[in-house]
């Protein structure tokens, strides 16, 4: 009866029904989509964080009171000393045995690394030293190449020595003499008769003069590589092979490899193409792209010097043909070549990779290479160890995201060598690098932190392309004490020397040896990630029972701002929904009040012939309930339809940095049944809540006043 009357009333008051109905419809629609978005982003963030590095739970020592974040703390890239897990093998065994939901316990140590790869001169001298038997033509070409480079160095040295280098007069004299010797005919005529001395002279006196503006910075996870790769399903090899079990070694993240190991000119060309392709802009309308082109043009002379004289000569005619220019050497033509525009970009880029790139070192490091990895030890001093690059991997789906993209993988033994205890004299010895590293780190910190949601993480924020500084190898912090230069130069030289010797540990280590040692933290992977809280409690209980000074933190607590991103998005959405609902309540309350007042007479009649206040209350509630359930159901269905559609199509990530939050280039929406129910329930409750005020008004209507209201 009440329902019958309610339905008739709704039909009779179509406008109000429509108003309330649309509010409910759009309210539920928005809340379903909002909830789906929130759910999906939360899931995606969780996936990006837990399946790349952090795992579901991180454990680490509770002795130090530091905020640990696997992605570096809020300043970015800063990894405070978090101590170590005492007796990791025992901890691992206890967790795996006692807590059934734990699938893997992966030992980890996260640190910041610096890579100082060979300059062209280094490479040529290494060639000469290691391959004296190569054919005469190549030998001669290499020697000529070294000689031209020495000439180039001489020119820049003269410029800089009088400028910012502030060399002593004695230094100036010896260096000038050395440069003169390295470019003189007699030296080269007698090169082979005294090969060793000649090479040593070049290595010690000339090579250090060359600037190394190719310093790279990145993070790595020291771990037992096979467990790590098994436990983190997003890791996918793209080149080479995983580090063989028991071996020391290194795996580059494709992201950092492509961005910082690849030749800068090529990186810029790649970046331009990507922008042209994804952002659909032209070079002529983008300042950013024009800037990149200009940087390539600026770097062209240096680039030309990397090509051997013989190849340069051969390339010249080819370039002349390609550019339709009658004359000019390669060095003269390259700046013109790199001055690309929208019309010729595609063909020139293809030409670059096909014809020019094979003659230069496109990647300063290749799979199979052994290279010195420099990192900051626990005590804060830099430390270098040779490692073998076994392969390149990526985090599948989030390969374009700088957040995880800067993390490479290192065996935990090497990690310990780099990170572990320092002997006092080793410490003193490496003090030299410290100033440089400090500068590098602070420069990185500043750029990294602010760039998380910015386009480019300026990891190599150095003097790229300008080629003006022969010695400020690390970065752009120009106000740095210039006295640091000679010292850092020494450190560089030492690092290079160690590289040249290529001594790398190829011993096979047992799992026990790998796990027994300094392990700062460990990632725990769960069989059922939904039981995170329960498992976390169990682990904490285990630690307490065993009296271990260990902390177990859920992924969200060890992912710094990223974990909070989910929370921030949630809060914003919640706030938005609250506003939507408040507006909804207001409109619904008014619409219901309007219908109620229009029906004053009718309500008065019902009261006069014996309708109780409760009857009037129930009647209005039924009407509102009917409206909200019917239109709410429509809204939920429409929302579900849209979410399903977006679940198939995906929302494209607006930029690379968001790909981490989207866990891929597109966010695929999905919505849980519970969220549908909640959206529906909230909409109905909001409407019923909104009708309380009109109901209060309605039950106060007296029969007598109603009877007079004609």
């Amino acid at each position: 009866m009440i329902w019958n009357l309610a339905i008739r009333n709704l039909r009779a008051h179509k406008v109000q029904t429509f108003v309330v109905g649309s509010i409910v419809f759009f309210g539920t629609l928005i809340s379903v989509i909002g909830a789906a978005f929130l759910d999906s982003v939360s899931l995606a963030i969780r996936k990006s964080i837990t399946q790349s590095i952090a795992g579901d739970i991180q454990i680490y020592s509770s002795k130090k009171d530091v905020q640990f974040s696997v992605f570096g703390n809020s300043q970015g890239g800063d990894f405070p000393d978090i101590g170590q897990i005492e007796n990791f093998p025992e901890v691992k065994r206890a967790i795996l045995e006692n807590i059934p939901n734990v699938k893997e316990v992966v030992p980890q140590g996260i640190n910041f690394a610096l890579l100082n790869p060979n300059t062209t001169l280094d490479r040529l001298l290494t060639d000469l030293r290691n391959h004296p038997e190569t054919n005469a033509l190549v030998q001669a070409d290499t020697k000529e190449h070294v000689r031209t480079l020495a000439q180039r160095l001489g020119a820049t040295y003269e410029k800089n020595a009088l400028g910012f280098l502030k060399v002593t007069p004695e230094e100036l004299i010896t260096t000038r003499a050395a440069l003169a010797r390295a470019t003189s005919n007699p030296f080269w005529d007698q090169f082979d008769s005294n090969r060793n001395d000649s090479l040593e002279f070049l290595e010690n006196k000339i090579a250090p003069l060359e600037s190394n503006d190719a310093m790279s910075y990145f993070f790595y996870v020291g771990t037992t590589p096979e467990t790590m790769m098994r436990a983190f399903p997003l890791i996918e090899m793209v080149q080479g092979q995983p580090i063989p079990p028991g071996q020391k070694g290194f795996l580059f993240n494709e992201f950092v490899y492509e961005k910082t190991i690849k030749h800068k000119i090529a990186v810029r060309l790649d970046a331009i193409e990507k922008k042209l392709h994804t952002d659909h802009i032209t070079i002529s309308e983008s300042k950013e792209l024009q800037q990149k082109i200009q940087e390539n043009v600026n770097q062209a002379p240096e680039f030309a010097s990397e090509i051997s004289p013989r190849v340069s000569r051969e390339l010249a005619s080819n370039l002349q043909n390609f550019l339709s220019i009658a004359s000019g050497t390669t060095a003269e033509l390259l700046p013109q070549f790199f001055k690309m525009n929208d019309a010729n970009f595609a063909t020139r880029k293809a030409y670059f990779y096909k014809t020019i790139a094979p003659h230069i070192v496109l990647y300063r490091m290749k799979v199979g290479d052994v290279f010195p990895l420099t990192a900051v030890s626990r005590s804060g001093s830099p430390n270098s160890v040779n490692v073998k690059l076994y392969g390149i991997f990526r985090f599948k789906g989030i390969e374009n995201s700088p957040v995880s993209g800067y993390f490479s993988i290192l065996d935990i033994l090497t990690f310990r060598q780099l990170y572990g205890h320092m002997t006092p004299d080793r410490k003193a010895e490496t003090q030299a690098l410290e100033a440089e590293m400090d500068g590098a780190l602070s420069a990185f910190d500043a750029s990294n932190a602010s760039d998380l949601f910015n386009q480019n993480i300026a990891v190599t924020s150095n003097t790229e392309g300008t080629n003006s500084s022969s010695n400020s190898s690390s970065n752009s912090s120009s106000n740095k004490d210039s006295n640091a230069n000679p010292r850092s130069n020494e450190a560089q030289t030492r690092a290079k020397k160690s590289m040249n010797t290529k001594d790398v540990d190829t011993k096979n280590y047992t799992t026990q040896e790998m796990e027994n040692g300094v392990t700062p933290n460990a990632a725990i992977i769960l069989s059922n990630p939904n039981k995170l809280d329960e498992t976390l409690r169990n682990i904490r209980k285990l630690f307490a029972d065993k009296n271990w000074m260990l902390k177990a933190a859920p992924w969200i607590e060890v992912s710094g701002v990223l974990g909070q991103a989910a929370f921030v998005i949630k809060s914003i959405l919640l706030l938005f929904m609250t506003i939507v609902y408040f507006i909804g309540i207001f409109i619904v309350a008014n619409a219901v009040l309007m219908t109620t007042l229009q029906r004053t007479k009718e309500i008065g009649i019902m009261r006069a012939i014996g309708g109780h206040r409760s009857f009037i209350r129930k009647l209005i509630l039924s009407e509102v309930f009917l409206m909200s359930t019917i239109f709410g159901a429509l809204g939920v269905s429409a929302g579900l339809a849209i979410v399903t559609w977006l679940g198939v199509k995906g929302i494209p990530s607006p930029n690379e940095n968001l790909e981490f939050l989207f866990s891929g280039p597109r966010l695929y929406l999905s919505v849980s049944a519970s969220n549908l129910a909640i959206s529906y329930g909230v909409a109905v409750l909001v409407c019923l809540g909104a009708s309380l005020y009109p109901i209060r008004k309605a039950v106060k209507i007296q029969p007598i006043t109603a009877m007079r209201a004609d």
């Binding site: 009357l5 009779a12 012939i609 007296q702 029969p703 009877m707």
Partner: protein, 228 residues
């Protein structure tokens, strides 16, 4: 004990800061089973009197007792129960629920009472709709009916709960003489057979001649009270 007992009842309405007196000291008693007409010129206070008896309005001063209960001491819920179960009210203006058809309108108080089964309700409703001669309109909406027809629906609705007291404010004002006659006969019959007490206001001589007692109001005062 009298069914209705007025004891120096005053009722005034406030209109634009001025008190408009509608009843000025009414005292009278109505016994069970009476068939009483309230007469008087327009504005004399007839509707006001019925509204007070019908518990849709309260006296400004004085005492009004129904079945010995002082209505000013009753809660809203108790008053509503009185209206629902004891009293049938036929208002001067028609007062049907516009979204319900005739059947539903007449059934409405029975549904509020929740005492009858569906079958009993249907029988009862049809019976009274037939008595007021509107069976063929039973599925119609009030808006499709004439003023007189609506008045008859209101009468059927007032009688359908078998109230012990029926109040009717000018029940025949909109009716032609044949229908008026029918209604009066129906009321007389109920009064005789069921002992239902009737209090109605009217100018209509056709009813006045049927009345057992006529109370005349003038300017909110009883000027005559004659039994016949």
């Amino acid at each position: 004990m009298a069914l209705i007992n007025f004891e120096n009842v005053y009722k005034s309405y406030r209109l634009d800061k001025v008190d408009v007196p509608a009843l000025r000291g009414v005292s009278m008693a109505v016994e069970n089973g009476e068939f009483l007409a309230v007469a008087g010129p327009s504005g004399s206070g007839k509707t006001t009197l019925l509204n007070l008896i019908g518990c849709v309005d309260v006296a400004t001063s004085g005492e009004l007792k129904i079945s010995g209960e002082n209505t000013s001491h009753l809660t809203d819920k108790q008053l509503t129960n009185l209206r629902l179960n004891k009293i049938g009210f036929i208002f001067q203006s028609f007062n049907l629920i516009p979204v319900l058809n005739i059947f539903d309108n007449v059934e409405f108080p029975l549904l509020l009472q929740k005492t009858l089964s569906r079958k009993e309700r249907v029988e009862r409703v049809r019976h009274y709709v037939e008595k007021v001669g509107l069976l063929e309109y039973i599925q119609h909406r009030p808006s499709e009916l004439s003023g007189g027809q609506r008045q008859r629906v209101a009468i059927a609705r007032a009688l359908v709960t078998l109230p012990s007291l029926v109040l009717a404010d000018e029940p025949t004002a909109n009716l032609d003489s044949e229908n008026a006659q029918n209604i009066i006969h129906l009321m007389r019959e109920l009064n005789r057979n069921e002992g239902t007490t009737f209090v109605f206001s009217t100018h209509d001589h056709r009813i006045l001649t049927e009345a057992k007692r006529i109370v005349t109001l003038e300017d909110g005062r009883i000027t005559s009270d004659e039994k016949r």
